[in-house]
């Protein structure tokens, strides 16, 4: 399998990077101050995901904008009761819409809730299966034949967190990454239901420029399809009276060629390599425009594989085979790092 070194590694004094053997020792402290570097996940764990991805089950994940959240472990969540949860949630949504009026559980309501497992989205056998929540509008009586329209969907996932599930206390389920697509009002209703039901907590997950550059490098390294769209980096210039954005587009094959010269071990990405890669792009830009991109803030990365915005919005591209476990693991690390 491909071994991906997580983006944040403990740096020992001599500059050698090492990963901690177990996530159980993940530092939960502030990433600043005395903590000199954060640790990452263990790079073990195969990519069961890739071979399963041919199924249509995950097709709905692609080409949509997903807002990212991190979630604390769910208390007394059981994947055996998903149907019952769906009923409760749909009653809760109906009640919320009526400003708290009581609603009978189990009757047909305007909004249908479906909660299901996505067993395909697993990085390893120990991982919890991803959980998908979908809200759809029931068709009006007049237009019976029309199909149910999905208005909102969200899914919880945990990939390659083997040690994570091992170290979880009983009764807790760890699905630390939550992705939502659809109106934010639904996100907050569903979120508050999960919060009440499973005593968990949602946090919006923003992506720092440092992590964005990591993603840029990772996606650049993916195998290209014919006519892959260009890689685009968007920078915002701070402390100016008007906001100024700089967009920097690079042909996908050029970016790949550059990355291939930088990357030492295929399948492994280190922070130093990412730094060198970005510095090369920056110095090229500086040569032409005399602008130091390193003095600006990287806000968006988009490639043929996927795109990510610093506000915590990601969009997955066409190529399903790159709906990579690595990317999910990255999100996992992000979600765990943000405490």
């Amino acid at each position: 399998g491909v071994v991906l070194r997580p983006f944040l590694v403990m740096e020992s004094l001599d500059g050698a990077a090492r990963t901690l053997p177990s996530i159980g020792r993940l530092s939960w402290g502030l990433p600043f101050g005395r903590a000199h570097g954060r640790c990452g996940l263990s790079p073990s764990g195969g990519l069961l995901l890739q071979k399963n991805l041919d199924s249509q089950a995950v097709a709905f994940l692609l080409r949509k904008r997903w807002a990212l959240y991190s979630v604390t472990p769910l208390y007394k969540f059981s994947s055996a009761h998903l149907k019952a949860y769906a009923k409760l949630l749909s009653a809760y949504i109906a009640a919320e819409k009526q400003n708290g009026l009581a609603v009978e559980v189990g009757v047909e309501l305007d909004i249908k809730v479906a909660i299901s497992c996505l067993p395909d989205l697993k990085g390893s056998e120990q991982d919890e299966a991803a959980v998908l929540v979908q809200l759809s509008l029931r068709p009006q009586a007049s237009q019976k034949k029309s199909e149910e329209k999905v208005v909102w969907s969200g899914w919880f996932c945990s990939v390659c967190g083997d040690d994570l599930s091992k170290n979880m206390p009983a009764d807790f389920t760890c699905l630390p990454v939550f992705l939502a697509n659809g109106a934010e009002s639904y996100t907050s209703i569903v979120g508050s239901w999960f919060q009440k039901m499973f005593d968990c907590c949602f946090h919006h997950l923003a992506i720092s420029p440092l992590n964005l550059s990591w993603m840029a490098a990772m996606w650049t390294g993916c195998k290209l399809e014919e006519n892959a769209s260009a890689m685009e980096l968007v920078f915002s210039v701070p402390s100016l009276p008007q906001s100024l954005d700089i967009s920097y587009a690079i042909h996908a094959e050029d970016a790949k060629a550059l990355w291939d010269t930088v990357q030492k071990t295929p399948g492994e990405i280190t922070q130093e390599e990412v730094d060198v890669f970005m510095d090369c792009l920056y110095s090229h830009f500086h040569r032409h425009f005399k602008i130091h991109l390193s003095a600006t803030k990287l806000v968006k990365v988009s490639t043929a594989v996927a795109s990510a915005h610093c506000d915590g919005i990601i969009k997955l591209g066409l190529s399903r085979q790159y709906f990579i476990a690595a990317f999910q693991r990255k999100l996992l690390t992000l979600a765990l790092g943000q405490k």
Partner: protein, 175 residues
């Protein structure tokens, strides 16, 4: 290459000089203002520079520098590169307690463009303390100003019994 020396000039009675080096002029000035507003028992002068080396024309007018503070903003990688490039122009004897790194933007993890371990490593390599703060918040700015003033006082030799080197050693051992 002009190298900056700590002891090539004589000290001035009851006064101390601080040099702030950083790429963000706005933050630098805010910090300098905060330091000037503090009550103090000695005269201070604060010199601002975006990078080193300093121009050699004004060299004879410049007083002895007692403390160099390198400012790094975690929001821009450029600020770190700028500091790294400037460090080459500082004489080794300065690092015996007369240099510190001031990291601002701490607490804004989502804006972070710099790997924290590289900053920490910088402090290790140059044997100098790393202070973390957020200069955009007034309270932390004032606290940082007070802290730097106290350090400056020690570095200028105004505190009997404590030298810059002992203080540096104590500070770095307390991590």
């Amino acid at each position: 290459m002009a190298v900056f020396q700590p002891f090539d000039k004589l000290p001035v009675l009851n006064s101390a000089t601080l040099l702030l080096v950083g790429s963000d002029r706005g933050l630098q000035q805010e910090l300098a203002k905060a330091m000037l507003q503090e009550k103090k028992s000695f005269k201070i002068s604060i010199h601002l520079a975006t990078s080193l080396p300093l121009p050699s024309e004004g060299d004879h007018l410049r007083p002895r520098i007692d403390l160099i503070v390198f400012m790094i903003d975690v929001k821009t990688k450029y600020s770190l590169k700028n500091v790294e490039a400037s460090l080459a122009h500082v004489a080794a004897s300065f690092f015996l307690g007369k240099v510190c790194f001031l990291v601002t933007g701490v607490g804004r993890v989502n804006y972070c463009s710099v790997e924290m371990s590289s900053i920490w490593k910088l402090g290790e390599v140059y044997c100098s303390p790393v202070l973390y703060c957020e200069l955009e918040l007034e309270r932390t700015r004032v606290a940082t100003a007070q802290r730097l003033l106290r350090m400056l006082q020690i570095c200028a030799g105004h505190v009997p019994g404590v030298s810059a080197l002992t203080f540096n050693f104590m500070l770095r051992n307390s991590y």
